[in-house]
């Protein structure tokens, strides 16, 4: 029991921190431009595919640096030539634009790399079990993922709160006109933040690609979950995004690891149903089965009872 708990926690931590790398960029972009970027997870996918193609020539480590930068550039171009143009048509048009972009990137990925799964592997140097607990191995690569995510979080926190750039960005979120009057190029800041957020998503893709497999559907798999996190955490709140990421990561990981379900609950209550009962499917549900829908259930509940999210400010 205890080893299941420990490994579920570790795996949940890996997933949660990975989700945070996506969610942090998304929530930063939202607080700046008021746009929920549907294509954010597509940048994550692009990161994995770029890294795969680069690693064919140079190996994993240069790809770890180059791929996120390339994705960041793509993101900046999208903001400069796409989003900025659509901005004047209103928020709905912006949302729909990013939605179309997500669709387009998925098709483009299939165009360039095909529909099959890429053979993108973690570097050999990290292919060893870091420690063995109760006879189960914990791969070093997962520890590496935790290390990267945590250092990104610390770096992001440091940049946003302790440096001049961070202060300008924070000011540009709340008072863009004043910042512009002080002589800063606000549209450029927007573009840079969009690019940096996309780059972070790309980095998440680079390190997640070998573990979660690199295939054209990987953006769809993660995309809506990242949305769920940003909304649950409270739109625009970085701290909320961290808490919600870990919450969702751990929740899913525990649900998958547990073997509890409705049969156990019914046994506990002393109720039983015949196997031809019309709701038979419900009486046989198990937690691992409903793990994929738990985030969405949480999302709907949070939106009904606390529309501003766990850490969000009150809606104006």
């Amino acid at each position: 029991m205890i080893e299941v708990l420990i490994f579920a926690t570790l795996n949940g931590l890996v997933t949660g921190l990975l989700l945070f790398m996506l969610a942090s960029g998304l929530t930063l972009i939202f607080s700046m431009m008021g746009v929920l970027n549907f294509a954010h997870a597509s940048f994550y996918m692009l990161g994995a595919y770029f890294a795969y193609s680069i690693s064919l020539y140079t190996g994993f480590w240069p790809a770890l640096i180059i791929a996120p930068i390339l994705v960041g550039l793509v993101g900046a171009l999208v903001e400069r030539y796409g989003l900025r143009r659509v901005h004047k048509s209103g928020h709905v048009a912006e949302l729909i634009f990013t939605f179309g972009l997500a669709f387009l990137i998925e098709e483009a990925v299939q165009f360039f790399w095909g529909r099959s799964t890429m053979n993108y592997r973690s570097p050999d140097i990290l292919n060893f079990p870091l420690f063995t607990l109760f006879g189960q191995n914990f791969p070093a690569y997962k520890a590496f993922m935790i290390f990267i995510s945590v250092s990104i979080f610390i770096g992001l926190y440091y940049v946003l709160t302790r440096t001049r750039i961070g202060i300008i960005i924070q000011a540009a979120i709340t008072h863009p006109n004043t910042v512009a009057n002080l002589g800063h190029n606000v549209p450029f800041i927007f573009m840079a933040v969009f690019g940096a957020g996309s780059g972070l998503a790309g980095l998440a893709g680079v390190i997640a690609g070998p573990v979660l497999t690199t295939f054209p559907g990987m953006a769809v798999v993660l995309g809506s979950i990242v949305f769920v996190i940003v909304v649950i955490g409270g739109l625009g709140s970085l701290g909320g995004a961290l808490v919600a990421s870990l919450l969702i990561g751990l929740l899913q990981s525990y649900a998958i690891a547990s073997n509890l379900g409705m049969p156990d609950l019914l046994n506990l209550l002393g109720v039983s149903f015949a196997s031809d009962h019309p709701l038979n499917d419900i009486w046989r549900l198990t937690l691992p089965q409903i793990a994929p829908i738990l985030p969405f259930l949480l999302l709907v509940l949070v939106l009904i009872f606390r529309p501003s999210g766990l850490f969000g400010k009150r809606e104006s």
Partner: protein, 417 residues
């Protein structure tokens, strides 16, 4: 009033005559798909275009209605119930309505991002649950029925595609008429008011939430009708019909067609169905083209294809439409060459084998010569296209300015600028 009735009568006649002109089974199947898509896209426009509610989970009502319709078909087949297949879409509509009443009771508190997120969450939730609740949704394989078991309707048993087309067209005509009339009711008008300014609407004394709830329920009802028509046509429903991809497709249809006009989603549904069924015969990359079309539409034609056509209303009223004819021709010729060249390069990069025939020209995907040729043609076309643009821009502004007959023109174009 008379002019409007004429439009509807012409619409009905077109629906009646179409399958008599294009008689092949393939084209009739496309027409049936179109009618279903039109009902679905129009119901979506009740949310987004008229109510200002951006939904990412509208396929839920289409799918739930469709699933119940298939179950109704199975009940007819097993002789547990006895009613005509012609009423199946109504079954779907009622179930879509019930689902929308339930989900709308908590999702219509707010429009905007909150609504969009709840619709996304509900969409994912129901799509994922449909794979778990196997007895109703049939899991991965879906559920299927047979439409020919019901009592014959005036001698028709709907075994033929054309009979299904007429059934779908009749339902589509009625549904379209109802949706149009809904926009003219106080509820439909208030939906527009709440979309544009919920605060003002509340100050007049209307509950913005209730107005949204009514639109939402109606949209669910008509989406369910579309789902029921789908069930009658295909006799099978799977998880694919209610997942996020389907919800995205209907958004695409309504947006490409044009949200601001009643006819917009109809145009979008027709265009997208044509792309879907015709383009996919020629190329495996049609989804890529669709994505490009969508992104370009959002960027350059925010009011959709219908909005683009409607832009010509002012020149039309000023009697200056012919000023645009020559510049349009001049721009569209290099434009077409440019697009064809791009498509040729995209297709050639995916061509298998050493020969690739495009528009009767044999190209060699492995040789540099073909690539250089295509690049040159496309590049020159792009350059010429750029050269023609200033003339088009001048003609456009000229066509939209009032010069001659100031009194008449001002009267005609009044309130349109």
């Amino acid at each position: 009033m008379l002019r409007k009735s004429i439009v509807w009568i012409v619409f009905a006649i077109v629906l009646l005559v179409l399958p008599q002109i294009f008689t092949s089974i393939f084209s009739i199947s496309i027409f049936t798909q179109m009618t279903i898509a039109i009902v679905f896209a129009l119901s979506y426009n009740m949310l987004l275009g008229q109510g200002g509610m951006l939904s990412f989970g509208h396929a839920v009502y289409f799918g739930l209605g469709g699933f119940l319709a298939v179950h109704a078909l199975m009940m007819i087949e097993n002789e547990e119930m006895m009613f005509s297949v012609t009423l199946i879409p109504l079954v779907g509509g009622l179930f879509g309505l019930i689902a929308a009443l339930f989900i709308g009771s908590f999702s219509t508190h707010k429009a905007g991002t909150v609504f969009a997120m709840i619709s996304l969450g509900m969409g994912e939730l129901i799509a994922a649950s449909s794979l778990i609740l196997v007895s109703f949704f049939g899991g991965e394989a879906g559920v299927s029925g047979d439409r020919t078991y019901g009592p014959p309707f005036f001698g028709y048993d709907f075994a033929q595609g054309i009979e299904v087309y007429y059934l779908a067209a009749a339902w589509m005509f009625v549904a379209t008429l109802c949706m149009y009339l809904f926009t003219q009711t106080p509820a439909g008008r208030m939906a527009n008011a709440v979309r544009d300014n919920p605060e003002r609407a509340e100050f007049i004394g209307y509950s913005a939430r209730r107005v949204r709830f009514i639109s939402f329920a109606m949209a669910g009802f008509f989406a369910g009708i579309a789902g029921g028509l789908f069930a009658v046509n295909y006799e099978i429903l799977t998880e694919e019909n209610l997942n996020a991809a389907s919800s995205g497709r209907v958004l695409l249809m309504a947006y490409i067609g044009g949200l601001g006009f009643f006819i917009g989603p109809i145009v979008g549904a027709i265009v997208l169905t044509l792309i879907n069924s015709l383009l996919s015969n020629y190329t495996t990359l049609w989804m890529l083209y669709l994505g490009i079309l969508f992104v370009l539409t959002v960027m350059f034609l925010p009011r959709g294809l219908t909005g683009f056509l409607m832009m010509h209303r002012v020149p039309w009223h000023l009697g200056k439409l012919r000023l645009l004819a020559v510049p349009y021709t001049l721009t569209s010729m290099p434009g077409a060459v440019f697009l064809l060249g791009l498509v040729a390069m995209i297709e050639m990069s995916h061509a298998s084998g050493s020969e690739f025939v495009y528009l009767g020209i044999a190209l060699n995907p492995d040789g540099y010569g073909s690539w250089a040729f295509l690049l040159a043609v496309t590049g020159v076309a792009f350059y010429v296209l750029r050269l023609t643009l200033p003339r088009l821009r001048d003609a456009w502004s000229e066509a939209n300015t009032i010069t001659r007959k100031p009194d008449h023109a001002a009267k005609e174009s009044g309130g349109q600028s």
